[in-house]
Symmetry: C2
Amino acid sequence: MSTTQETLVKSFREYVNKLVTYSQAIAVLSWDLRTKAPRKGTEARSNVIGMLSGEHFKLATSPQMEEYLLALEEPAVFSTLDPILAKTVQECRKEFDRSKKLPADRYQEYVVLTATSGSVWEEARPKNDFAAFRPYLEKIVAFQQEFIGYWGYNGHKYNALLDMYEPGMTVGQLDPMFATLRAKTVDLVAAIAASPNQPDTSFLTKHYEPSEQEKFNRFIVEQIGYDFAAGRLDVSAHPFCTTFAPTDVRITTRFIPNDLRTALFGSIHETGHAIYEQNISMDLFGTPLCDGTSMGIHESQSRYWENMVGRSLPFWNHFYGDLTKQFPTQLEGVNVERFYRAVNQVTPSLIRIEADEVTYNLHIMIRYELEKGLIEGSLAVEDLPHLWNEKMQEYLGVTPDSDANGCMQDVHWSEGLFGYFPTYSLGNVYAAQITNTLKKEISNYDELIASGQFAPIRSWLKEKIHRHGKMKSPNELLQDITGELTNANYLVDYLESKYKTIYQL
Amino acid sequence: MSTTQETLVKSFREYVNKLVTYSQAIAVLSWDLRTKAPRKGTEARSNVIGMLSGEHFKLATSPQMEEYLLALEEPAVFSTLDPILAKTVQECRKEFDRSKKLPADRYQEYVVLTATSGSVWEEARPKNDFAAFRPYLEKIVAFQQEFIGYWGYNGHKYNALLDMYEPGMTVGQLDPMFATLRAKTVDLVAAIAASPNQPDTSFLTKHYEPSEQEKFNRFIVEQIGYDFAAGRLDVSAHPFCTTFAPTDVRITTRFIPNDLRTALFGSIHETGHAIYEQNISMDLFGTPLCDGTSMGIHESQSRYWENMVGRSLPFWNHFYGDLTKQFPTQLEGVNVERFYRAVNQVTPSLIRIEADEVTYNLHIMIRYELEKGLIEGSLAVEDLPHLWNEKMQEYLGVTPDSDANGCMQDVHWSEGLFGYFPTYSLGNVYAAQITNTLKKEISNYDELIASGQFAPIRSWLKEKIHRHGKMKSPNELLQDITGELTNANYLVDYLESKYKTIYQL
């Protein structure tokens, strides 16, 4: 490497490090806002976050950044870069293009629109007033179509949106995936509903003192492998996991006094995200690669720990004694099998965020089909309410009593998050697919779970997934681990096998 | 105002707002580091704080800032500025000059030196190894003298250092102040020590469960007027108060299980700082004026609430019932007078941070005299240990058993904080002086305290002090409120009157 080139690389590294440091600062300020900030402090805080976000945006889209990218992308230069630096250049290019290809004034309009439409949705939803929300949603969809035009796309227009959350994912992969899920899950849900062997869940809604729940949650997430020396568990209205560095990854939960499930499985879920982030290689720190590679892969880690592990019988065979010690009166006379069946109850419901692991993907499928239709122009926003209700009836056998509990239930569309929903189902599909390989490669897998020894599993996940951060795309990861791309059959097999036993089908 | 000038003013406001916003972000990141951050996360956090501090420094000292200042300082322009903007220009000029007058390489060397000497002090103190610390301290003193040369000064060299923490304060004011304190307090301390009527404090060191202490602390600081909707109380190793905005001012404390005093009076002390910050006018938000005007005035507010109010008999006549309800067994058989005498115990001690309100100023005086000598060159660093011990014996009647408990006890000098210590005594002097006027202007003062009604007192303090932020200098404030400058006689009168009663002298 020539001296000029060394200087260039050093200077670019420092520039990117600064860019990433702004993101870290914003993450801390936002975490504090959502967990600790006093009521009156929110306005001032929003200003600080706004200023730093502006600085971040400026650095990511500056002429200086463009100069760096052009110089480093020169084939003679690019070929000499180490893999981390090469991938960093590609990530910066992606972010640069995504922003710079949009006309600044149109983007500004869009930012104002989504801010407004978020408030409109918040007001309209409790009033069940789709008519009030509709014109905003129509504008958002039009903006998405316009932006896709600037960005360009391969194959389906919707691919451009998918790519923001699941790089490289396409309608071509998603259509067959959802077709499999639809064909198999709809029948399974119907069979479960018809089963005379429904679990009793009444004991899950007794009084579980939040401070006692917290003790058990801390115990269980630490057992799973969450490193409290590099993290915290706090309370927030909406549970989340956020990362300042692999050495500081924080999770939150909320405790519902008369429901044991929410915080318990929510904490295990967020711990799955956190274990991912805590195990990204520190070699990637200070670059945009020090992050989960996609929403879907991230979700696969949270769903793995929440469902495949946290809602499994071997897991509770090991930990149920600890749980009954914490809540002896509430769980009196409830054996581990009854508990296991209860926390795996399947009930078609109107609300996605309350859905069990069998029906969950049907909720996502509905949103995926509608989003795709809106973006390609085959559906109009005004048709959403009735199409939504028809699909709910078709897939889940229930019809929403209102748009508030129907097509207006999620915040995503009001914020312009199109292309995001599929990552939830991808998470489930990936999780089952990866677990299938994991079980083959770790021969005593069931014993490990049944004895609460998760270290070998975590090591495997770290080696195969976590440490790579954004160095591998979701498709690359999946291909490298399982030898194939997205395949929903593993999830279907897992669900059928698990739930046929539980519901004695 | 011409259009050009309007544009200039608008642009300068935005620039300053950004500068201040960096400080706010740094404050949040530092608060989190000291209260919530997991052990492993500190290194990454220090990098973030370092980067943002660098950006802040760049903005404060940029050629752009200099251009703004020169344009706005033009008499024809300056005379048209509103008072807040005019004062903002002056503050920015002060910060600009303070940094720009130092040669960049020398300042850089100094930053490295103080970082190193901090670590050296931390290691040397427990080993009682002054010899190891001495060369670092000598270099720091030499840097202070060199910097004063660049900055310039009026009267005494030490004034240049004082001005950083107490703008406008001079040796000319401090010398007579400390002379008064020395003359009167040394005798008082001796008389107290000789008194046969020493309070019994044994019940203060029983077991006070931290969670129970916390409940009472929250109650008492809210009663005093701390606004929890614009603040939080958390735990940290060293108690502090920090401000992100008047709408978000946070205090910390630490709970010692077998000492009721530390957290209780510590929390009241920090609440005094916090009430000041919570009541600064929002008109000043987004400017460098939205802050306490000086360390001394800040300390006057914390010492007022901690000592003049929180350690007064009328206060406990009102709240002692609440305290005994919280700790019925620990305080069994202890009446309010015994409690009052106990929390006002005077004992000459080696350690400043444990000192009572009578001996405290003698500790400060020793440091002031030694600092002044070091800076003017009449004392050498190598003479510190024995001079320290001589003065301790002379003023307090005790001689340190080691330099660790003597001249090496405080962190300040290792960090280059020369000129800071006097603000602690100024806080006490100001507090007594202001209370004297307050009692004259609020006729039912004693009744208000005795009935726990602090709102009228807070309103008075807000009107006279808090709301002004940095719009008035300490001397201006004091002159406006009391009609005179620093006068230690009010503090001496207060101490004599209070402690002659307590110790029946």
